[in-house]
Amino acid sequence: MSAPDHVYSVYIKASPDRVWRAITDGVETERYYYGTHVDSDWSKGGRIVYLYPDGTTAADGEVLDVDPGRFVRMTFHARWDPEAEAGGPVTMPWDIEPQDDGGSKLTVTTSGLVAGTRIAEEFAGGIVYIVSGLKTYVETGAPMKVPAEVG
């Protein structure tokens, strides 16, 4: 298996089930995922869509493989603007490893980004923001400070 483009990970003081809910429940993603609401049945082959509050699509994709509470491998296709959309879908697995102390290690990797493109740069910052925000939200219940223009 070839190496991914990027690997992002973080320890979260919460159970794998709690982290899974934060990833898959739309009411929860609204708190840390750029305000978007995720919708999917989270079964293999199922469609995933991230919706802005006005109902338009921020991004979509497909569930490639899933083990609820442990991992989901998805494709993720940016739809937030034409240039990002032209970059095509990215493969993005989310893995949750239970830790001895009852917490979780969340690892998100990306594959299929073309280095130097705007979508690759936006992704680099975007995934970091989302993963950090997920941790802060799950551990403290508080959403991240959202950049002013998103508010």
Partner: protein, 109 residues
């Protein structure tokens, strides 16, 4: 020993050689030890490995096997958390202004 979750990241960032390694991984992610050694020519391979070890311990670098190679990936999440939980409050007005200029992952309105 305090139970400060940010301490390892601050310690890892305190060394200029380690910051060079992070900068080079920021420019191009997933590099091998051999590639990273080239950026610190005055340092032995063992020295570079030791610094990468500190970065990995602090969670700032993640490694993945790729065939016979081990690749190093920048994990900026702990730095982001340090920023959000500690540095951000001191620099907030400036950061806010810059974020608005850069507009990462902006919303369509």
């Amino acid at each position: 020993m305090t139970d400060d979750p940010m301490a390892p990241a601050f310690r890892a960032l305190s060394d200029p050689s380690r910051r060079i390694l992070l900068d080079r991984l920021f420019e191009r992610d997933g590099q091998t030890l051999g590639e990273l050694c080239a950026y610190l020519p005055a340092m032995t391979r063992f020295g570079v490995m030791r610094h990468l070890g500190v970065l990995e311990e602090a969670g700032l670098v993640t490694t993945r096997r790729d065939g016979r190679e081990k690749r190093h990936f920048l994990n900026p999440v702990p730095i982001r958390l340090v920023h959000d939980r500690w540095i951000g409050k001191f620099a907030e007005p400036v950061v806010g202004a810059m974020a608005a200029m850069k507009r990462p992952w902006r919303l369509r309105r």
